[in-house]
């Protein structure tokens, strides 16, 4: 069995090895899991795609500069820009020095390190230049037309065809990483659960596992199964919402209506069985907060059966409606090379042939004891991303049945140590949210969070959306965007 406890071993590195890691990333030797900074250090989490081995590299930054990783490996770019915003460090050789989350209105600079007052008026943000005959620009956002999160999209179009999309995000920046500082374990859990509300279960799980890794804590077997049960219900609810919304963006609203019913029934089930529709704050370090009753288990089985039956009718409808497939087939394609380069997780990666799912590749309990496969498609278009979701709903329903069959009796949580270790401990975890792998790294000193860095799967998906829309018509953007369904709040923090 794989080491399930704390595979993210920390290593101190020097400047030369840091640069070497950048070159290794460019060669595809590792997948970048995250890149972040803190007081006096920059850090990088890496995954070996072949062995599944993972580690964290820490580089001291005594003079506030570090060698740019983005110089070798572009997927690191936005994370590196974020390090400058949050910590004030300069990545030497970074190909794009523009700020990312810092729009110049916080009143401070480098909130995670110096936190110095800064009252200069915000500088104008320069979008990348686009030149050519007959081009025009369409600025969209930050406020969009639907009930969705804000972000700015700058389209350059030639007639109806998109030539370039440039995203500008950061509008949802709530200072989450700063708020983690000094929190006790349960205070941190509340914030983690609200980084991206649609993935609240996954974030709570990643946070709990990171704390448990830092303190070498065990969790009762029953809690592992309950955590997976919550996570799979969350996955189904989100995928149902997405499939309905994607079809609705292709003007096929009957799918939205029916998926909406299935989603609502799923959220009601969660409320009846676990007391919260989104199952917020149900997973805590040490275990879970709410047990599964026999009555609830029966309700879940009945719901699974009903959902499956209704859902398969909708799958048939999706697959056999030519006018709908005309919109989703070959629209918004992403190549296998790009998803591999970016290490894009979730439906974005798997629709373009990247076989990665942290439940399989970096397994954690109870998934090492459950039988499931990672669905894969190769066309990388909107249709493929819909199909990954369809297959995953089926898979999750099967996983839920297995969980209910195999869940052991026993307690649901171990209590946290009464006197936490005074010295600094660090831990990290990677778990599979509906949108891809969520990573959380943290340091705890004397029971308080010193630094917590959450990395949403969207960091490596948003840049690919810019590529997916290229050559498509402007009117297909909502469709492409929804088929990605990246998180704004999870990325903006």
């Amino acid at each position: 069995m794989t080491n399930l406890h704390t595979p993210w071993e920390p290593n101190a590195v020097d400047v030369a090895s840091w640069e070497g890691l950048g070159r290794d990333l460019a060669r595809g030797k590792y997948v970048l899991t995250s890149l972040w900074g803190g007081r006096g250090h920059v850090s990088m989490a890496l995954l070996d795609p072949v062995s599944g081995k993972s580690s964290v590299a820490h580089l001291p930054v005594p003079d506030g500069t570090f060698p740019s990783i983005a110089k070798h490996y572009l997927p690191a770019l936005r994370l590196e820009r974020s390090i400058t915003d949050m910590c004030g460090f300069t990545p030497v050789g970074c190909p794009d020095p523009r700020p990312w989350q810092d729009h110049g209105v916080w009143g401070v600079k480098a909130p995670l390190t110096d936190n110095k007052p800064h009252t200069d008026p915000p500088p104008p943000y320069t979008f990348l230049p686009v030149e050519g005959e007959g081009l025009h620009q369409i600025p969209v956002g930050p406020i969009h037309a639907g009930i969705i999160e804000p972000g700015h999209f700058r389209f350059t179009a030639n007639g109806e065809t998109v030539v370039r999309l440039e995203e500008r995000l950061g509008y949802m920046h709530r200072g989450a990483e700063k708020l983690f500082e000094g929190q006790d374990i349960s205070g941190g859990a509340k914030i983690a659960a609200r980084l991206s509300g649609d993935s609240t279960v996954a974030y709570s799980l990643a946070y709990a596992r990171a704390v448990e890794a830092a303190w070498s804590l065990d969790v009762p077997q029953r809690a592992h199964f309950l955590r997976a049960l919550f996570a799979e219900i969350e996955r189904i609810a989100n995928h149902l919402g997405d499939i309905g919304a994607i079809c609705n963006d292709a003007a096929f609203s009957v799918m939205l209506a029916h998926c909406g019913i299935l989603r609502e029934e799923t959220l009601r089930l969660a409320f009846e069985c676990f007391g919260h529709r989104l199952m917020m704050d149900r997973i805590v370090p040490g275990g879970v907060k709410v047990d599964l009753t026999r009555d609830s288990a029966e309700k879940i089985l009945a719901w699974a059966q009903k959902t499956e039956k209704h859902f398969e009718i909708l799958v048939d409808l999706y697959d056999n409606t030519a006018s709908l497939r005309d919109r989703t087939d070959t629209t918004g394609t992403v190549s296998a090379e790009l998803v591999t380069l970016y290490g894009a997780g979730g439906h974005v990666g798997r629709a373009s042939g990247r076989q990665f799912d942290s439940r399989k590749n970096t397994p954690y309990p109870p998934y090492d004891r459950l039988d499931f496969e990672i669905p894969l498609r190769n066309t990388g278009d909107v249709n493929a991303r819909v199909w990954i979701r369809i297959c995953e709903i089926r898979q999750s329903l099967s996983l839920i049945r297995q969980i209910l069959n195999h869940i052991p009796e026993g307690g649901i949580a171990f209590s946290l140590p009464e006197s936490p270790p005074a010295e600094t401990q660090e831990g990290a975890a990677l778990v599979e949210a509906f949108r891809g792998d969520v990573f959380i790294w943290l340091r705890i000193t004397d029971g308080k969070i010193e630094r917590c860095h959450p990395r949403d799967p969207s960091w490596f998906q948003w840049p690919l959306l810019e590529n997916a829309i290229k050559g498509n018509i402007v009117a297909d953007f909502p469709l492409c965007n929804k088929s990605f369904n990246c998180s704004y709040a999870g990325q903006d923090l």
Partner: protein
């Protein structure tokens, strides 16, 4: 395929829930907040522009649910619109991030009078998990005047519905008065 599904839907019992009673606390808050003149103009039809000012998107998920067949918000004459210029109500979620302050203010300015502001969720009410820091201004009332708070983390659709019905009742009473 579509025809079969539609026929099945027509023959089965609707899933839509009966209308709940308007929320008492909301009615009380609204009575204080609104003047007769603004009530008189709105009547039994309200259009809402939703603005996320800094939420985790949990509130958005539940606001979305109002449009599903269970809650079917449009049966009450309430619907979501794409532009604040078409809206009677701004429904704002989240703490107001400093990066969103200008957009929230601008949306408020271009919403035609009379207008109502509904702050949805604990963050928007200033009592959420995201306590004071450099990146945001606090609840919605920090930036624009709020007429109605619907609390919860996130509030359930039924609570949102009760709050909005209270708004509708208040508006209709004003019309009769």
């Amino acid at each position: 395929m579509t025809a079969k599904l539609l026929a099945q839907s027509l023959l089965s019992k609707p899933v839509t829930i009966p209308a709940p009673q308007p929320d008492e606390a909301a009615l009380a808050e609204l009575a204080k907040a609104l003047n007769e003149r603004s009530r008189a103009k709105l009547g039994r039809s309200l259009t809402i522009r939703e603005v996320d000012a800094g939420s985790c998107n949990g509130c958005e998920l539940e606001i979305h649910a109002l449009n599903n067949a269970f809650y079917d918000l449009e049966r009450f004459g309430i619907k979501f619109v794409a532009s604040p210029k078409h809206a009677d109500v701004l429904m704002v979620t989240g703490v107001v991030t400093k990066n969103m302050e200008f957009a929230v203010k601008r949306a408020y300015e271009v919403t035609p009078d009379p207008k109502w502001i509904v702050a949805v969720g604990d963050c928007a009410a200033g009592c959420g998990v995201f306590t004071e820091n450099y990146a945001h201004l606090g609840g919605v009332a920090s930036t624009i005047p709020v007429d109605l708070h619907i609390k919860g983390c996130p509030p359930q659709p039924i609570d949102l519905l009760k709050g909005l019905l209270a708004l509708l009742e208040t508006a209709a009473e004003g019309k009769r008065a």
